[in-house]
Subunit: 371 residues, 2 copies
């Protein structure tokens, strides 16, 4: 019977990343309701956090009537320009000598965050485009400080079509920075740009209340299923499943070591599953000896611990107590019951970093489920 | 004068990754000498650790006469198959239902590491191809255990063209595992595959002495400039430069916070440079409040500390003591004097993970310098 099973079993070697675009659209719609009457917009920078900006922008444009997209770089905007022809594409890192041509070609809207970039824009401005001005309100990252704004003359202030800022601590509901930044933003906007539409929040700010939503909210992380309001249960749906095949089942004798630098030693006899995924696929090496992989066992989902170091192409899992794991089965690294937020917590980082990193790997079999 | 400088300054927004293929070839040649008379081979899995397997394989094939390449997945082999027509392409994760067609089309050589995969091969074997057998010798990862080997009959043993294993602790010269694995490998090879060529070491094993080099060494990390023998100064040349433009220079007032979650607070007035790169470009978030960025200042290179959290698109650097940093200048994150090994140490991981992660990001301006 054992031999028979072996003969029948399939062999797979490649990890699989499934992206559920229907759930992404559901998340976008749910967020749009939460922020109503503010206008929703989609953040597809960093190649849509690695999920492929073209696929993500297409479904949001066609199925969710999204007409405002944010990218970090003009080169990212170029990937979606033809897919969202009637939409605004805002470029957060702004315009410069290395991107001017793309702005001219595609009519991107630059976000201008420094006096130097404003000078550049005045020299190279594009007919019909009104840039966004980025105001610094407490993050101390990009944006005009009030000293910079004071130096602008009346004509300078007329250049812009929208005013934005960005919150530092919006994932903590009661953090003092939220009110502090909101007040700064309101005061500066009122003083310099009273008539412009305003955007203060990304998807963490969306949950802080109507006053944080202003005219436009930049929906990113939450749309991708991340809980950006971790002080309460996630309202968003998980959109990705990451799984990888078991290449081998092997005994680990008592006293033996596992993986690079021999960081795990077996206190008794164990059973191992070698799973075909590693940090080369974006699984953080910080999950060494800590991370979990899940296997179907009968009708249950069972948890297996990662033993030893995560290596580039493989992880080694302890399946001693999971009897029916076989070569050709899949281990699950991210799915509805162990989400991006869960793996990020175990890896000691944030879901954004995990998603951004995993999504970019070219060696997955990548499957998009759509409406 | 200040205004004049501003008018003249260039604005850039996009990070730049330079890959020096000439130095890569130099490293490969140096390693080939060290391991002589063993045959060198090149590990270009994980898209050549993110550096683009097609570019790397091409230069090694054309300029260094490399005729043996290792990938993890058949899908990776496909990217180089036409570029290295006369070479062997070994596929470390082996063959299965999701890759069989690629093996048939390109005559890849599978590495077979389990009895199940051997059964699969016997059912689907490809004329003219002799697979590599992977023997487990102490890493407790992929590979035939001795119990598995005992079950093979004489005809099974004739199937293979090479025998390989992989070392767990080869970056520590005196680690007991090195001798332990070498002895295991010799004994098992002698018993089951006395006539086959053998490959035990990757580029860390290359420095452990002739007995570890056997017939073929799989050169990867060291070829990419990583010090795989950290118990002595690096003999390899750094091959990558990662730099990103300063988008803004700004004052940080005493008492202000920096970045997400307000993790840095200024004890006195500081000067900030906002640099256009972040974890979306592969800069580990674990460098938050720890990492370094380097700036040219006159004829010197000056070090600036990263303040606050690394965010997706930007990092914030303390340039209080570096007077002449301006918008449009570049900050260096990896270069000859602060290599992959240095940034990995600061980020709390290994150079392999940094390289594999950084190289894959599509939003760099990517420049290959060649011979």
């Amino acid at each position: 019977m054992h031999i028979f099973t072996r003969h029948l079993s399939k062999i797979y070697t490649q990890p699989v990343l499934q992206i559920n675009l229907s759930k992404l659209v559901e998340n976008y719609r749910m967020l749009s309701e939460i922020i109503y009457p503010a206008t929703p917009s989609a953040v597809v920078k960093d190649d849509a956090y690695g999920l492929n900006a073209a696929e993500v922008a297409k479904v949001l444009y066609e199925k969710a009537e999204c007409r405002n997209f944010w990218v970090a770089h003009a080169a990212e905007g170029e990937k979606i320009a033809d897919i969202v022809p009637e939409a605004n594409i805002f470029v957060l890192q702004g315009i410069g000598d290395d991107s001017l041509e793309l702005f001219q070609k595609h009519q991107f809207v630059p976000v201008i965050s420094s006096p130097e970039m404003l000078l550049y824009w005045k020299k190279h401005k594009i007919e019909g485009i009104k840039p966004v001005i980025h105001i610094e309100t407490g993050l101390n990252r990009l944006g005009f400080r009030e000293n910079d704004l004071k130096k602008l003359n009346h004509r300078d202030l007329q250049i812009f079509g929208m005013v934005m800022s960005h919150l530092a601590c919006a994932d903590e509901k009661d953090h003092f920075m939220n009110e502090h930044q909101l007040n700064n933003f309101r005061r500066v906007k009122q003083k310099y740009f009273p008539d412009l539409p305003a955007s203060l929040s990304a998807s963490d700010g969306a949950f802080l209340g109507e006053e944080f939503c202003c005219d436009m909210v930049r929906l990113g992380a939450a749309m991708y299923g991340i809980n950006t309001a971790p002080y309460r249960p996630n309202q968003m749906k998980n959109i990705i499943t990451l799984k990888a095949p078991v290449l081998q089942i092997a005994d680990l004798p008592k006293g033996d070591f596992v993986g690079y630098s021999a960081t795990y030693r077996a206190a008794d006899n164990r059973k191992l599953a070698i799973v075909s995924i590693g940090y080369g696929d974006g699984v953080p090496r910080s999950l060494s000896n800590i991370g979990k992989v899940f296997f179907e066992s009968g009708k249950k989902i069972r948890e297996a611990r990662i033993l030893g170091r995560v290596s580039m192409d493989n992880i080694i899992c302890d399946v001693t107590d999971i009897e029916d794991v076989k070569v050709g089965n899949f281990g699950y690294l991210i799915f509805d019951d162990y989400t991006l937020d869960d793996i990020a917590r175990d890896a000691g980082t944030i879901s954004y970093e995990i998603l951004s990193r995993i999504g970019k790997n070219p060696r997955f079999k990548r499957k998009y489920c759509s409406l």
